[in-house]
């Protein structure tokens, strides 16, 4: 319960921080989307309900604070969470180079979905921003994702005494949503 209570607060803190960092470092042109990395992390490590709640809250807060159409990032974050969740059963998500690559791909997908959304529904051509903003941003996320995962692993070891693994992944239960 504490987790769900603290989730909005945590998401606000994290997104406020990432906006401030982006503002100082890149004058707001690029955002180091730690919230997206956190969603991927949730997809790899957390169970379905907790992870989905995190993705939803992070997406919603991001929508509210970044000022895009409310619901867009909520939907995209949920989508990325589900993809990460599914991928975590097929791939070895402990490998940091995989995390980097997956982070890059997810960021790219996220940005492309946003561009597509604006293009199709708002008739706003944002294709030009792909090489100058979207790619660098995806690369940034690809770079930061392993760092984030490494730090979280250290935190897991600090808190639990060993790296955290989901029950389904450790084989104690069947792969399902019955958590």
């Amino acid at each position: 319960m504490v987790y769900y209570l603290f989730l909005p607060l945590l998401s606000i803190l994290l997104i406020a921080l990432q906006i401030a960092v982006a503002d100082v470092l890149f004058s707001g042109r690029l955002v180091i989307e730690i919230s997206l990395i956190a969603v991927i992390y949730a997809g790899f490590r957390l169970d379905l309900i907790k992870g989905a709640a995190l993705a939803f809250v992070f997406g919603f807060v991001f929508d509210c604070l970044v000022g895009s159409v409310t619901g867009l990032f909520t939907l995209i974050y949920l989508l990325i969470f589900v993809v990460s969740f599914v991928v975590s059963f097929v791939m070895d998500t402990d490998k940091l180079h995989f995390v980097a690559l997956f982070g890059f791909v997810c960021a790219l997908i996220e940005q492309l979905l946003v561009v597509l959304f604006y293009n199709l529904l708002m008739q706003f051509d944002a294709a030009l921003s792909i090489p100058f903003i979207l790619l660098p941003q995806a690369m940034l996320i690809g770079l930061f994702a392993p760092v984030f995962f490494y730090l979280m692993r250290r935190l897991e070891v600090f808190v639990y005494g060993k790296p955290f693994h989901r029950i389904e992944r450790s084989g104690d239960s069947r792969i399902s949503a019955e958590i």
Binding site: L48, F56, G71, L75
Partner: protein, 275 residues
């Protein structure tokens, strides 16, 4: 109920998806920038955003200042080095300019006299109280011989006394052993200019009945056979008429500042026309 319990996670996610989709659809169509939840989130996040911004900004500023200071030190070093280099370069150019000026004057003198000259550079000075000589960087290999007159703008410097293969000693006209046959430009009165070291020189053997005043120009007469006629020697500084003696006591200031002499011309032949 069993279905719901078994698949509650999936149902939860699907519901979230549906909710997000409805929210997106609604906001795409009706969004006017407001929204209750958005307002709440924005209000709640404002203090955090402010705090985060101030913190990150101050860290960034400190870092910038640190980097700026490092850059400043580096830039300062670079600029100091550049200034030193430019100063050295400027000195070099100034030196080149003054040398050019001197050589221009020397060339003008050479052209005006119409003799054949050898140009030489002063490489040393021996200037005691009475002994006044200089060493130049040309010698017998260059055609210099003992007794040759040495000049520099605006007039007479001295004569060659000791010639080595590559260097030569020149006796200045202010040396105690130097005597030059001269005449006064204004009155054409002849006399002998004799060196007196630091005091310049004196004009000898001009009888008291001659017309000599301070400021008269003294030039070589060409009578001694060593120096050609018409070279400026100096200017009469002071004239005294001793009661008991036959001649004037005339002090002469040489035209040339021997302490600043750097290049000289050595007269090696007679006038070109006479050759």
């Amino acid at each position: 109920m069993f279905f719901l319990k078994n698949y509650k996670s999936i149902i939860f996610v699907v519901l979230l998806f549906l909710f997000a989709l409805i929210m997106l659809s609604y906001n795409t169509k009706y969004d006017k920038g407001g929204g209750f939840f958005r307002k709440i989130i924005m209000e709640a996040s404002a203090p955090f955003q402010k705090l985060a911004h101030v913190t990150v900004k101050s860290v960034g500023n400190s870092w910038d200042r640190y980097v700026f200071l490092i850059g400043l030190v580096e830039e300062n070093k670079k600029l100091t080095k550049t200034i030193s280099e430019l100063e050295a370069e400027l000195l070099f150019y100034k030196e080149g300019y003054s040398e050019t000026e001197r050589l221009r004057k020397l060339l003008a003198l050479k052209e005006s006299l119409g003799y054949s000259f050898i140009a030489a550079r002063v490489i040393a000075r021996e200037q005691g109280a009475l002994s006044k000589t200089i060493i130049i960087d040309k010698g017998s290999f260059d055609g210099l011989k003992s007794g040759m007159p040495v000049i520099a703008p605006p007039g007479l410097v001295g004569r060659v006394v000791h010639v080595s293969w590559n260097v030569t000693k020149v006796l200045l006209i202010t040396d105690k052993n130097s005597n030059v046959d001269v005449l006064l430009d204004r009155t054409r009165v002849q006399g002998i200019f004799s060196g007196e070291g630091l005091r310049g020189g004196k004009l000898k053997y001009i009888t008291k009945n001659q017309d000599v005043i301070a400021g008269d120009v003294v030039m070589s007469s060409g009578m001694g056979g060593v120096f050609p006629k018409g070279l400026f020697v100096g200017q009469v500084r002071d004239v005294t008429k001793p009661d008991t003696e036959l001649f004037f006591n005339i002090s002469v200031t040489p035209y040339i500042d021997f302490s600043k002499l750097e290049e000289v011309l050595i007269l090696v032949s007679e006038e070109k026309g006479k050759k």
